[in-house]
Structure formats: structure tokens, C-alpha cells
Subunit: 255 residues, 4 copies
């Protein structure tokens, strides 16, 4: 089930956020135990030299780092963070996350489009975090981003796919991959996203704040693989009436 | 993640129906590939001698057979089928399925209670298929059944957990295992049932009518294990407001 | 929009419970302001003579009293309460409510069937409160009850139609009226029940515990009439794709 | 229940689209029967002189016309249509509807913001139709629009509030009125929007394509008033466990 994204062939459709984990040490364990290929790292946690603990020291070399612009409030800040992040990490995978709102942490789609235009030209593989809006997704596809990352629900709410119909429209109408980001609280939510045809899921809070983040990461990994496999086989449609599982057809009468 | 049910220790929380699979040959493959411990078999498909193909020849000896009374229209027929089934299969695991309705194939809870009372006394491990009704589940628990099997939605509809609130009440209020049976159409539905605390899921139509039943069985197996693992770790609650994943806190301003 | 139920022609599809209202005095106001034709009354609140306040004194003569057996724990108690209730109220409309469970207050369908068999023979117009189970509804129809009253969700939870698919099956498959009872917390829930084809709704907690029960009763009355009217006109189906509301078709290009 | 919007005091919270009705004649009937104060009119249907039938001749003078820019593909077209519309109708209420997508007819939020900036400066009362995005709604509030009109679901789908959580965030976080527009298919959907705190609903397809548009308009009017009244009284919260409606407390034992 390997697939190509951002110019790389990877196996794991579970992307994991690192920012909220109880310890940096745990990052290694999660990557190993849940077979993770891609992690996101907020720029402020990555730094060269100095004495502060550096999150980059805990990420295996073969793991792809998606640098996160979280904290940026407009496109200029996002671009600036992206450039710093690339220098610090040597990764050109950038998650564009621009939040004007401090309560629901909803992304600013308009500023995000502007940042993506610049970052694509700067040679990044760009992964914008967006509100579920097909028109925005199409514009980003035209700009040349590597994937779009619509939210399932607001960050940290664990509500799952609260705008499923709008998400489906994006998945059905654009050709680049869709990675569902934010708000996925349970493995079943992630499986549902994959059954709809998402290419991957990015999970942060639901793993990081679980009682046992490593086990929860494994649970998400299995659910995501399950949902993807079902999608590839072909998800069955709902029916109004039941079909008999095992009709008796006179068996008993003949006994 | 092994557990005890019906007096046996088993590993797989995915139970599979055999009645609608494209071929009996496939049963073996599914049991092997999806690591299945329990299958259901309708009595009319199991028989001794004669020239008709016998489904029992395709089930490995270590696999537990849950005999299904499907086709029974009242408690007397169910008891009769159960007794015949035990003789044919040497299994005393009986799924009590009594349907008065031929459109939605909904179970007759009242007749089911009567059948269970008799079958428990006859020494069976009894697994009643029921409409999601806590009062009925409690009565069955008192009677001494091995588990209750409330429907997720009507048989073959693939609608998932259409009465989730009523199912939750059953899971929360009785002590015997709850196995969700019928209507589960996608791995995400099964994961959701497990996250609520179901002990296992019984899948029939959604595997049997998939384009590739073996792969779909594997997808369900992973989703069920994922949901169970999340349940054991502790499923996170929904929140109204977001928590910041990666607050910038002045990082950029300091650059 | 008048209709016949329990042998009487009535206008209002909103039935109201009286047991939890802040004062008996308010019953009159609600009946008048929200144009109510049927109220339920728990037997213990109705009595002849004595000094305790009698709820019956607050119910206008033209209002139909549906006596409620709530508090009954089995069919014998329900029958006893029904007989006492008829004597006290002179009404032979009986709501059969039998609860074995004290947490969710879910009805005992099996005992309810037994009570209804007896009460129909005793000449009552019988309105059983049930868990949403089509097989039970059919049995009650055969027995000769006046309507079935499946719960929307557990009493007092305000969750609305938590088992909508099971409710739809009942409405579609039986010929006697379906009155949705319990758990309806908002006017939109009641409208939804009516759009599905319910004949009426019985509301108790959501009106009685509102800050202004009279206004809330009026809100439910409008919503129920709205839902019914939409049902009669014909509720529109969902579509996957949009139809253009107002296509421009070259207008602007011609300007 | 009168309220102020766009500088005018009006009574009816049901706004109605006129573009898809079976006949212009019916507009008058709907306005009268369902007590409508505001209708939307697509510019191409309004014209001065000439021989084509003019929709404006069918709208009573006291009814407020909200001119609709539907058909516009970018902000420039929308502004042009708005200016033409004002000249033709003498109304400065403008619904900004800009659709780049021809399948789901989803609005282009970015172009919409640009159009609104210009139109507010031009002295219009501006009502932008948007995808449910709080950040966009806040920007529009800052620009000075009269209300925002997020979609319930894609135009003409009758799916109701498919992104309810995102809609709630808008209603809770901005101070200007929220009018739910598009996708509302049933009165219960409209009641639900009002219970959440929407100021009004704009209904088009669900009335225009009903078998009896006048009756369906009345149904929506009642449901909207019901939802609003419940909102004003205070919508009750959901509970996990039931409260007893009418506990017996030993009554029967004392009989």
C-alpha cells in the first residue's frame, strides 16, 4: 500500500504531530512502533546549536519532517517561518498553518493561499491546512501544492468529520491527495476519512493526549490501514431494506 | 488482547458469517488471512452424509462454530434448529436468530427470550441476536446467555450503528459481553462499536458481498483491533473548543 | 388538519405531559395558548375527594385525558393503575408505561404487550410507550391498540430521534398511528418526527423544564404543524449535487 | 418577534428565493400566505421596459427585494451585477453570490470578500453567501456587511446543516446576524438553524420545487418561528440519563 506524495514514496498513511507529546523521547518509540514515515515539527522546537533541547535530535534520519508554520498569523509570517524551518531541518516539506482565530484555531484560507503561492515558487513541497472549502482546495491545486489538508473538526476537539459532506466534495473533485488534519479523535474517525478516499490522516492531539500515546498511535495506524484497504476494495453502499443473511427456505419443514 | 467468551479463550474479536460468501472454499482463506476464531453457520448448510456440499468440511477444526438458527420464525423452531445444529456440528455455541419480519429481518425479542431460556437449560452457550433494547438485554443476562448481540442496523443495510445511544446504554449497563451484529457496513462502523466498549463484532454481508471478501475481512479485523485498543487505552472526550497544537508564543518575534 | 385517533376527532398533534410542570395552574394556560387537545396525567396525581390538590381540577372538560401508568413495574401493576385511573378520570385513554429500569427509564416491551392485551379487552383506548422495535409495534397493532408510542430517546434526555432508522421502519410498516414519545428536546426534533410521518408527538420534559413552558409549548405546536404540513405536501429527497438556483446564462455578457 | 436587519425592521425570519418557482404569479401568493418580508431576485430576471415578463411586477411594494448576483464568477462580475440590480430594482440590499464551481455551486469566499469590500463602500446593504468559515465571516463583519449567509449544505441538495459545528462557531463568535442559506430541505432543518441562534433562513429550492410551494412556504414559516421562539426561551441541553417524568413513589402500594 505504498504511495507517492510530495515526490517521495512512503508506506504509512498515518502522519503524526510531535508538538504535544509528553516527551521528545516518545517520538522515536511512536515512529518505530506505529511505523510512521512522516512527522510534523513546529519550527520553534527545531533549532541549531544552543543549549535548549532540540526536537530534531529525536527524529530518525529516514523519517520525513513536515515543518509546521503554526503560530503564523498571516502569510508573511508563514513564509518567514517556512524559510527558517527549511534551513534548520533540511526538509522542504512545509505544512502551512495560519491561524487568525485563537479560540477554535481555524485556518485563514485566504492568507494560506497567498503563502502557498510563494512557497511553491520557493521550491517547497507545500501542505496547506485549510477549512473544508472545495473552491480553496481547487485554487491550491492550481497553485501546485502537494496535497491539501482540510480539517476534520477544529484542532483538539476530537469531534471527527464534522463537515463530512464538504470533505467528500473536496476528495471527489480534486486530483491531488487529501490529508485530513485536525479534530480526529478516534480511530473510527480516521477509518471513516480513509473510506471516503482520503490519502492519509495527520493526528496530533488524539495521540499526544492519550493515556498511552504509543498504543493509541498503533490503534490509529491499524484503523487508517483498515479504512484504506476498504476504500481500495470498494466501500459498500447503504441500503434501505435488509437482505437475508441465511434464509431457511423450508429447511426446517423438511426435517 | 485475548479474551474469554462462551467459556473459551479466543484472540479474534471479529466473528464472521459464512452464509453469503461467494464460495465455501473462501471460508478457509478468510479464517487464515483475517485470523478468525469464530464463524457462524446456518444449520441448513450443515449436514451429515448425503451428496450435497457440506459447509462444515471447509471449516478448520480449531475454529469455533456458532450455529445460527436463522430462518426460525418462533422460539419452538429456534430450539429445534439449535438441537439439530448441535448434533450436526458438535458445537454448543448457538446464535439465536428469530425473525418474524421478512423485510427488515428484525429479530423478535420476545420469542428470542423464550428460546434462550430453554437453550441455556439445555447447556448451550447462547448468543441471542436482538433489537437494541436494554431491558431485553438485562433479561437475557439474568437467564444466563453468554453474550447479547444487538443489531447495529437492519441486516444487510450497511448503515452502521443507527441506534448508537441505545447500544451504549446496553454496553454500559450489563456485565456480559456485547457483540454488535448486523448492519455494520464499513470498518469505521466496527471500530466505532469497539470504541464504545463492544466485546466483538459479527460481520456477514459487508464481507461476503465485497468485491474482495478476503481483503475486506482483513480490513475489518484491523479496524476492530484498532477500536479495541483505543477503548483499552481510553477514548478521548469531545471538546467544544480547540487546544492549540503548537503555539508559537513569540518565537517568530524573537527571530 | 384534524385527524381521528382513539375514536375521537382532534386537531392538535401536540400531546403534553402534565407531571413535571412547575404548577397545576399552568396546565390550563398551556392547553389554551398552545391549543392542546390531549394531555397525559399520572394516576397518582388524580384522586377523588380528600384534601390534596387534584390535577384533574385544572384540566378543561373538553380536553382528552390520557391516563398514564408510569410507575408500574410489570403488566399487573399497569392494569391495576389503568383501572383505577379510568374510575378517577372517566377517561378510557390509557398510556401504558412500564419501566423496569430506573436509570434510563426504558420501557419493558414484553410486559407492555401483556398489559395491552388485557386493557384492549377491557375496552380501553390503549397507547403503549415502547422501545423502537417494529416487531413489538406489529404485535401491538394486532392486539388492537389505538397507536404505538415509540421513544425518540430515553425520557428527559432531550436527544431527539436517536434511533431514527428504527422509528422510520415502524412508521412505514404499520397502519395504526405512531406517536413519538420521550426524549424530544427541541421543536426541530418534533418537526423531524412529523416529517417522517408520525401522527403526533407527546412532549413532557422539554416543555415542563423550559424557562417559559407556555412559550415552549407554542414553539412545539408550530414545529409539529410545520412538520406535518411538509409531510402532507411531500418531503423532498436529498441530492448529491446542487441544482443551480438562478443560473445567469450569459445575462451579464449581454449587458 | 420583529428584528432589525439591513437597517430595516422586519417581522418575518423566512426569506424566500424567487428564481425557481413554477410561476411569477405564485410569488405574490407566497408572500401573502407565508407572511414574507424579504425575497431574493436574480438580476437577469429584473429589467426595465421591453416585452419580456418582469419578475418585479409580481413583488408587492412593501416587500424588500434582496438582489442576487448569482451567475457571477468573480468579484468584478458581482459588483457589475449589483450596480445594475440596484438601478433596476431601487433596492440596495444585495446578496453577493459568486460561484466558481458548477457542480456543487459552492461560493468563492475569497472573491466574495473582495466584492463585499467594494459594495459596502458603494452604500449597499451587503449579504454575502459563503462557505461556513468563521475566519471569512469575521473578515466580512469587519468590512461592514449587514449579515453573513453561510450555506447549510450545497444549493439544492436538501441535506440540511451538514457542517453544523462550523455554523455554530460562526453564530457564537460574530456579532452581526447569521442567515442560513442553501441546502435547507425540510422545516426541521430550518428550525434547527434557528435553535442554534441563526437570525433568519433563506429558502429557495425546498419551497420552489415542492408539490405545493405555498403550503411548503407556510410550513417553513412556522418551523422558523418555532425554532426562534425556542431559542429565545432557551434550548434545553442534552442529558445522558433520563429524569423520571412521573415517578410513582409508592402510590400503588398505598392503594
Amino acid at each position: 500500500m505504498s504511495f507517492v506524495i510530495g515526490g517521495k514514496t512512503i508506506n504509512s498513511r498515518l502522519f503524526v504531530g510531535t508538538g504535544k507529546l509528553p516527551s521528545y523521547e516518545m517520538i522515536k518509540d511512536i515512529i518505530r512502533e506505529a511505523q510512521i514515515d512522516v512527522v510534523t515539527v513546529a519550527v520553534r522546537r527545531a533549532h541549531r546549536g544552543g543549549e535548549r533541547e532540540n526536537i530534531l535530535d529525536y527524529i530518525p534520519k529516514e523519517t520525513i519532517i513536515m515543518v509546521n508554520t503554526s503560530g503564523a498569523r498571516d502569510y508573511k509570517e508563514a513564509v518567514k517561518i517556512a524559510l527558517i524551518g527549511r534551513e534548520l531541518t533540511n526538509s522542504n516539506w512545509i505544512k502551512v498553518e495560519i491561524e487568525a482565530d485563537t479560540k477554535y484555531l481555524l485556518p485563514d484560507n485566504e492568507e494560506t493561499i497567498k503563502a502557498c503561492e510563494i512557497l511553491v515558487k520557493e521550491g517547497f513541497n507545500v501542505f496547506p491546512y485549510i477549512s473544508p472549502d472545495l473552491i480553496v482546495a481547487k485554487k491550491l491545486e492550481d497553485i501546485g501544492v502537494s496535497a491539501v489538508m482540510p480539517l476534520g473538526s477544529p484542532i483538539g476537539t476530537n469531534k471527527g468529520l464534522v463537515a463530512k459532506e464538504l470533505l467528500k466534495a473536496i476528495i471527489n473533485e480534486i486530483k491531488i491527495p487529501v490529508i485530513v488534519d485536525a479534530g480526529i479523535g478516534r480511530p473510527s474517525h480516521a477509518a471513516e476519512a480513509m473510506e471516503l478516499g482520503a490519502e492519509a490522516c495527520l493526528i496530533n492531539t488524539a495521540i499526544a493526549t492519550a493515556k498511552d500515546p504509543i498504543k493509541m498511535a498503533k490503534a490509529f495506524k491499524m484503523a487508517i490501514d483498515a479504512g484504506r484497504l476498504a476504500y481500495e476494495v470498494g466501500v459498500l453502499k447503504e441500503k434501505e431494506y435488509a437482505d437475508a443473511s441465511s434464509p431457511l427456505t423450508g429447511f426446517l419443514r423438511g426435517v
